[in-house]
């Protein structure tokens, strides 16, 4: 023992205090959920780790069952998911999934131009007529997003598409920067391709630059999102996923067409903007669950009814005339709000008397607001078909 018996007692007290501190650690409140972003690079890595296509992303974020990776990538091919929007069938691809992100931000994408003609930037093209944007953030960052603001800069004569390859280089060049429109362009693994059926439509494969290295991209086009100009936060649009309760009372998500919205919940946006006859829908979505009303049913052909049966949801199905399903394939999977009074299921029928939850307006008009819930999941889901037709990426002057 040392010279100070008193201090030794104090030392013991210090030790006891340390134990108490350690015990106190057990009473820590649970950690808030962590934000996470999955890109196609991450999904490929999950597959490479041995996962099967039913491995779920965002499994604990308010979306029963999460998002199976098979609904993002089928091998190296993007999965084309059926959807409804403005009471019409369509489909979209999914390239990024966020969970617990209250917001995502548009990032700058630098585009060299040779000049301007009538206010239109003349993009610097390579020998194949392609332009190559320079991205400021890569998909390895939690702040990556495929939502870019084109920032044009006029290059001197003799500049090639390989002259400017990093954001730092461009900022250091001192060339005037002109921020303009927003683009949805995903940076993707080089082996990822859109479904063959979409060839010639959206998205357009391409390449760009990131920190001096060439990266593969999929261009979905301009004007597929809006943003707050003060913060560059990308505006969300609701994407509704139908859920119901199983025999145990748990919410489950049958595989049904999702329903795309046109504006914030309750905003009652009448219609999407159009280029000619082609609509321009959002590409950044907040996923909402819609609990199917107990009085509603799902229009089911034989195959869907089989799936519902397998899921223990036999009573959810509502049989459809095969001829109607053949004429209007997107009718299968729609949620029918008035199964007891619906007699003419074909929307093109003059005597059509059914109410489908096939648009944001229909959902908000026919579903109790308490049955509509925002999840912690957001995603990039650009529509690639609508009304049985492949959409072209809305791109001006390319």
């Amino acid at each position: 023992m040392g010279a100070y018996p008193g201090p030794v007692r104090l030392l013991r007290r210090v030790g006891a205090s340390a134990v108490l501190l350690a015990l106190g650690a057990c009473a820590q409140p649970p950690a808030p959920p962590a934000a996470q972003l999955w890109t196609l690079f991450d999904v490929e890595a999950i597959y490479a780790g041995g996962a099967t296509d039913d491995h779920a992303l965002a499994a604990d974020a308010g979306l029963p069952g999460g998002i199976p990776i098979g609904h993002v990538l089928d091998g190296t091919t993007l999965f084309q998911r059926p959807a409804l929007i403005e009471a019409t069938g369509g489909s979209y691809l999914t390239t990024e999934v966020w969970v617990n992100y209250d917001q995502v931000w548009m990032q700058p994408m630098y585009v060299p131009v040779t000049g301007w003609v009538d206010g239109v930037p003349q993009k610097l093209l390579d020998a194949n007529g392609a332009w190559h944007p320079v991205f400021s953030v890569g998909p390895g960052s939690g702040f990556y997003s495929p939502f870019w603001q084109a920032v044009y800069f006029t290059v001197p004569p003799g500049t090639t598409t390989a002259t400017y390859t990093s954001a730092t280089q461009i900022l250091d060049s001192g060339l005037p920067l002109v921020p303009r429109e927003g683009w949805t362009i995903s940076i993707v693994p080089a082996d990822v391709t859109p479904p063959a059926a979409l060839a010639g439509g959206s998205p357009k494969p391409g390449t760009g630059w990131l920190d001096g290295a060439m990266v593969s991209t999929l261009k979905f086009g301009e004007r597929l999102f809006t943003w707050d100009p003060a913060t560059n936060v990308v505006d969300e649009t609701p994407l509704f996923l139908m859920v119901t309760r199983d025999a145990d009372g748990n919410l489950v998500q049958p595989y049904l067409p999702t329903v795309g919205g046109l504006g914030p919940v309750g905003a009652h946006v009448a219609a999407a903007p159009r280029v000619g006859t082609e609509p321009i829908y959002a590409s950044y979505w907040r996923l909402y669950t819609v609990e199917i009303p107990t009085t509603a049913r799902v229009v089911a052909d034989a195959a869907l009814q089989q799936e519902l049966d397998a899921a223990g949801l036999h009573d959810l199905g509502f049989p459809v005339d095969p001829n109607v399903a053949y004429d209007t394939p997107s009718i299968v999977g729609r949620v029918l709000a008035n199964p007891t009074t619906c007699t003419r299921m074909d929307p093109s029928d003059a005597a059509f008397d059914c109410t489908y939850l096939d648009s944001q307006a229909a959902i908000e008009a026919n579903v109790d607001p308490g049955a509509i819930a925002a999840t912690a999941v957001t995603a990039t889901c650009p529509f690639v078909t609508w009304n049985e037709t492949a959409l072209l990426p809305p791109i001006v002057n390319e």
């Binding site: 030392l11 340390a18 820590q28 950690a31 808030p32 990032q107 960052s141 702040f143 730092t168 003060a230």
Partner: protein
């Protein structure tokens, strides 16, 4: 050289220099006694007061430890740090035209430092989102401004009969930023230190105390630091935190050497408080840190060498599994009035949950890596001309390479040159220029700084 300088005249020169922002030299008390790194920081490091007249000339007299004639067990020390600074540009490192988000991920926001706390001229991103990788700001932008950097009050209580010391350091930090008055009262240190064995150099401290990592924390306070501003890696090593620490040193007299070990378990490790809050554990698990040091104390050469490490959950987020690992090496050599300090730091932080710092809440704590260090050379020339006690000229080279997950790695460096004057025993005037350079990854931006500091101690 004029020998007839009066102290009044010197003060006038000092004040004029501070007022005009002229590059007036300052001297450092680097030659002043600094106790062993591990124990010294727990003792208020104010300049040594003038030698008091002996109470009793009789040889062998020892003041009673208690009762009448005993020195007061309570001492009150402190200092006032008044600054004058001017940064280039808008006082930040944010490049005009850069719209990438977060704004603080692609530049070094700590570069335009103006005082010993590492506060910068500005962190105003003009509305661009930032994600909490920020220093404190004095909010002067690119304007030249006087600053009251710190009003520091140290209380030390040492009961004569006990091997115990209680110390607190409370600082008033008057600030006016773009959002209005942002003045803070900050408890930088508050701890008790016990030396349980009279025969051993063993000290146990519990409370909020200085870092144990590296050597730069020894210079945290304006009245101690050679120059005005900390290095580019000080953000990782100089922060105080709450917990317990143990210091042990063994003297090897035959080799004129000593070996020391300083270890701590704290809430946040040694990051500065703007990056990781020290006043609460966000994960429930302490952060371990420590330094193994060697000292050589010969008549001509004093040298200190050390290796430091830190491991534990990062305390800017709630996930216990999100670890931070830091290691570093340091050296301090003093020969014939020349002082060489050098330090290298290696930082790895894993990705964690939602981020919380002393500056607020942020959505993501990104994985982060940094490597950097500095070399500082100072020469102190002692004087005894009127009020002038010492003139020190110093220079420092800093370099930092760092990157956030998915973002372009940035490399920056900085040349710092300055002068310091020590006047009497209680007044220090120092001035320096920071030449910040963006070498790679970060856009070039005008963010050099002139800054000066007048420190009154008591």
């Amino acid at each position: 050289m004029r020998t007839a300088w009066t102290s009044k005249g010197l003060v006038g020169v000092a004040a004029a220099a501070l007022a005009t922002g002229a590059f007036v030299g300052a001297a450092r008390a680097q030659g002043a006694p600094t106790a062993a790194p591990a124990v010294a920081p727990t003792v208020p490091a104010a300049p040594v007061p003038p030698e008091a007249e002996p109470i009793n000339d009789s040889e062998g007299y020892t003041p009673p430890v208690e009762g009448a004639g005993a020195p007061s067990p309570l001492s009150i020390d402190g200092y006032v740090d008044v600054g004058f600074a001017k940064a280039q540009g808008n006082g930040t490192s944010f490049a005009p035209g850069d719209q990438s988000i977060p704004a603080d991920y692609g530049v070094d926001t700590f570069a335009p430092a103006v005082n010993s706390r590492g506060d910068v001229a500005s962190t105003n991103s003009n509305g661009r989102f930032v994600n909490g990788f920020l220093p404190r700001s004095v909010g002067i932008g690119g304007n030249a401004s006087f600053l009251l950097n710190t009003l520091d009050v140290d209380l030390k209580y040492t009961p004569g009969a006990l091997p115990l010391m209680v110390f607190s350091r409370v600082q008033l930090l008057p600030r006016f930023t773009g959002s209005g008055d942002d003045t803070r009262v900050y408890v930088e240190q508050a701890f008790g230190r016990l030396v349980p064995f009279e025969s051993q150099e063993l000290a146990i401290s519990v409370g909020k105390f200085d870092s144990v990592f590296g050597i730069e924390y020894l210079d945290n306070e304006a009245n101690i630091r050679t120059g005005v501003t900390p290095s580019l890696v000080a953000r990782y090593t100089t922060g105080q935190s709450i917990g317990a620490k143990l210091f042990y040193r063994v003297q090897i007299e035959s080799l004129q050497s000593a070996v020391s070990l300083n270890v701590a378990a704290t809430n946040s490790g040694n990051f500065v408080e703007s990056l990781q809050p020290p006043d609460a554990s966000l994960t429930g698990t302490p952060v371990a840190s420590g330094r193994l040091g060697y000292e050589l104390n010969t008549r001509g050469v004093q040298a200190k060498l050390g290796a430091s490490g830190l491991i534990g959950p990062r305390n800017d987020q709630p996930l216990e599994a999100a670890h931070q690992k830091v290691f570093g090496f340091d050296a301090r050599v003093a020969v014939a009035g020349v002082y060489l300090n050098a330090e290298y730091v290696h930082v790895d932080e894993e990705e964690g949950g939602p981020k919380t710092t002393s500056l607020g809440n942020f959505p993501i704590s990104s994985a982060f890596w940094a490597r950097g260090g500095y070399v500082q050379l100072a020469y102190a020339l002692p004087f005894s001309i009127g009020a002038l006690r010492k003139l020190t000229v110093y220079g420092r080279y800093d370099r930092r390479h760092a990157w956030f997950q998915g973002f372009t790695p940035i490399t920056v460096d900085r040349f710092t040159g300055g002068l310091r004057l020590d006047l009497w025993e209680a007044l220090i005037l120092k001035a320096e220029y920071l030449d910040n350079r963006e070498l790679a990854g970060a856009p070039t931006v005008a963010n050099n700084v002139f800054t000066s500091s007048l420190v009154y101690s008591w």
